[in-house]
Amino acid sequence: MSVIRSMHAPPGRADRHRIARPNGWWGVVVFIATEATLFGTIFGSYFYLRFRTAAWPPKGIPDPAVTVPAILTAVLVATSLVVQLAFWAGRAGRVRAAQWLLVLALIVQGAYFGIQMHLFLDDLDKFSPSGSAYASIYFTMLGAHHAHVVFGMFLELFLVLRLVAGLTNYRLIGLQATTFYWHFVNVLALCVLATQIYAAL
């Protein structure tokens, strides 16, 4: 028999005894580091292009809306708490609670995405991305952010389905990873909102 493995769960917890963070945690953290850098270069390009133009937005393009996006962003950021609660529930062994919390997050995020898509298409009607560098970076930045929201929803959907068969260490790490991912996406949402507010000033 091999050396005793530290696999047993602490009392009241469904995860294993560990000293270090699990491999999956590190994997997601490094992945988020690279995605954060990706958005860093998008924001860097945004400000680089801003300094190339006297008027921002250029003449003829309306200032970006601030109120509705701000409300939407606040709602999205609130789902970070929901997903975090889902992880804590899972870690305490309460699988059904975790699933229902994920479903709640999905519904809210789905609504967020739907309304954002409507606003996005509305903007496309008003000004074209091929009309100016401002429009190009505006739509690219928003599009990149929304794509990350969709992927986050896909992660949650996968987990809801997988948790039907119960909780395992692997799925718990997946839940933790998804939580992390959503916190990251929500920080991005705040940064995107900040650029929209900046342009509207």
Partner: protein, 634 residues
């Protein structure tokens, strides 16, 4: 010494063999998750691309051997030098050092049974293969990338480049970038978590420090390239205005983002080579590396400072001096960690009892060429000098001394050095030494005259040049040199192929190296280590007491983990044993996912965006299928 050499019939060893072996045949290779097999897949694929890039180089040199030559048409020449650059950097050097050497050796050197994410490792390979095939389909269809390996706008935009050439470049490199990003994540987590108990960070081999530095650099550099390529494709396909000055855009945005990636990229090219050199030198000098902590940090410092020098590629663009000084300052200073390494290497050799076998000869050649390439490089830190020599052959000389001399020579030395471990046979020493001298003379002859011809005015990327400028004899010598170099490389290949079948048996440790790969049989068993080794220094194979302790553990079943498909993990800083993790077995998902991803990009290439979306959905389904079963069930 290796426990399992003496005990292949031991029931624990047999159980390990049973648990870890993979399917035979082509299905086994398509579904493999074994880091050693994936390393070999990378090795042979990158060698094929090296051959392709080499042929491109020989064609270029043949065209340039004489003035006003008509061997190649100008457009073909543009495709050849662009594809040569793209191939050598993205399809040869980086996948060879990270995918082949890194994948094969890192788990062995840290005492682990595989990488942290074996299936993602396979995915990295299949995505890489897809990216290479994608770009070469473009070349063979007559639409090879043609705007230089750094693909400046506006030349790369639709207006000047209406064909799909640049689309093959951009989409191929996006796929390649995803492959490298995933590989980098894998290396970082593996190096952090899968080290054998006792291998705290200060006891990790220098090769692993180099791979850690490379992986961190890839994580933070690739996004800039990815976003640049996305901007480019959006501009070309849908008319976005990132790079058009009239509409608020800026062609320099392409350059800033590109070099923000590409300067760290050149350190990514060279750092694993440093890692190979720091593995070979102690073995053949028969002593530990002098100033080990400084060398380890220098690897990380070069990678880090390399992020702050990018605009030295833009000194001739008219940017204000006040902006450029930041980069001149960092460029001047970035040479210092490399210099520290050069001193450490040479002092280790001279303080040891060196045995100049082929691997060490190649490292000697590496040091000579690296110093020369570094000297020409530091000259570029001076803005006025750079402005006089940018886009001349002086630059071509500099980077070939670095890439060929400082990256390829260690690769060749490393091929000889680890050949006995991978194949179980010894290479032919005499042929190997001859191959070194041919390669060394060939490299010097090909690239040294480029300094001179560049200083007397020959620009880079020209497909021909007129008589009477004094460039003729230099170009002819360079071409002759390239053929000698090719002969040397062919001799390396011949030696390795011949020795693979007829070489003398090597045993586990022919060179008495210091790191853990030399404690196991050659070739390594599927499970790598029957007993996870105890480690108390950075040169564990030279710690006799530890190796003796391991010998008793097989019998007692300590650190053997043969119950399932398992490997232990340890804490990040101090290598304290933590938990045992289950590892996945062969899986069809990596190759499937890569296939759909490649097809999605093909659809983007031909502007069928809806179908591209469908393939992207299939990628997501593959991701779901992949994670549906857990590693111990998979």
């Amino acid at each position: 010494m290796a426990v399992d050499v003496r005990a292949p019939e031991h029931p624990r060893v047999q159980r390990l063999e049973q648990v870890w072996e993979e399917r035979p045949g082509i299905l086994g290779w398509l579904t493999t998750v074994d880091h050693k097999r994936i390393g070999l897949l990378y090795f042979f694929t990158t060698l094929a691309f090296f051959g392709a890039g080499g042929i491109e180089a020989l064609l270029i040199r043949t065209q340039l051997a004489q003035p006003e030559s008509k061997v190649l048409a100008p457009d073909t020449f543009n495709e050849l030098f662009t594809t040569h650059g793209v191939t050598m950097i993205f399809l040869f050097v980086i996948p060879m050092t990270t995918g082949a050497f890194g994948n094969y050796l890192v788990p062995l050197m840290i005492g682990s049974r595989d990488m942290a994410f074996p299936r993602m490792n396979a995915l990295s390979y299949w995505l890489f293969l897809g990216s290479g095939i994608f770009i070469y389909i473009g070349l063979f269809m007559g639409f090879g990338p043609n705007a230089g390996w750094f693909d400046y706008v506006p030349l790369a935009l639709r207006h000047f480049n209406p064909g799909p050439n640049v689309d093959f470049y951009a989409l191929g490199l996006i796929l390649n970038g995803v492959s490298s990003t995933l590989a980098a994540i894998n290396f970082i987590v593996t190096i952090f978590k899968l080290r054998a108990p006792g291998m705290s960070l200060n006891r990790m081999p220098l090769f692993c420090f180099a791979m850690l530095a490379v992986s961190l650099a890839l994580i933070f550099a690739l996004p800039a390239l990815t976003i640049d390529l996305v901007f480019l494709e959006l501009s070309r396909k849908v008319g976005f205005q990132f790079f058009i000055p009239g509409n608020g855009g800026d062609p320099l945005l392409w350059q800033h983002l590109f070099w923000l990636f590409a300067h760290p990229e050149v350190y990514i090219i060279v750092l694993p080579a440093f890692g190979i050199a720091t593995s070979i030198i102690p073995t053949f000098a028969k002593r530990r590396m002098i100033a080990f902590p400084l060398v380890a940090l220098a690897e990380l410092l070069v990678a880090f400072i390399g992020f702050g020098v990018w605009a030295h590629h833009m000194f001739a663009t008219g940017l204000p001096t006040i902006t450029l000084v930041f980069f001149a300052a960092a460029t001047l200073m970035v040479v210092i960690p490399s210099t520290i390494q050069v001193y450490a290497w040479t002092m280790t050799v001279s303080a040891g009892r060196p045995e100049f076998r082929a691997p060490l000869l190649f490292i000697g050649g590496f040091i000579v060429f690296f110093v020369m390439g570094g000297l020409s490089g530091i000259m570029f830190a001076a803005i006025p000098f750079d402005q006089a020599t940018t886009d001349t052959y002086f630059v071509v000389a500099h980077f070939h001394f670095i890439i060929f001399g400082a990256a390829v020579f260690p690769i060749l030395g490393g091929m000889y050095y680890w050949f006995p471990k991978v194949t179980g046979r010894l290479y032919h020493e005499g042929l190997a030494q001859l191959s070194f001298w041919l390669a060394f003379v060939g490299t010097a002859l090909t690239f040294f005259p480029m300094h001179i011809v560049g200083l007397i005015g020959m620009p880079r990327r020209v497909y021909t040049y007129p008589h009477g400028l004094g460039w003729d004899s230099y170009n002819l010598i360079e071409t002759i040199g390239s053929y000698i170099l090719a002969a040397g490389l062919l001799l390396v290949a011949f030696n390795l192929i011949y020795s693979r079948f007829s070489g003398a048996p090597a045993g586990p440790d022919p060179f008495h190296g210091g790191t853990l790969e030399w404690t196991i049989p050659s070739p390594p068993p599927h499970y790598n280590f029957a007993v996870i080794p105890t480690v108390s220094s950075a040169y564990p194979n030279w710690d006799e007491p530890d190796r003796a302790v391991d010998a008793g553990k097989l019998e007692r079943g300590e650190l053997t983990y043969e119950a399932g498909h398992e490997t232990p993990t340890s804490t990040v800083r101090d290598g304290v044993f933590d938990e045992v993790v289950d590892m996945p077995s062969e899986s069809p998902w990596p190759v499937t996912l890569a296939f759909f991803a490649a097809l999605a990009l093909v659809m983007v290439l031909i502007s069928h965006y809806a179908i591209a979306g469908i393939f992207l959905l299939l990628v997501l389904f593959s991701l779901a299928g992949w994670h549906w079963k857990e590693p111990q069930e998979a």
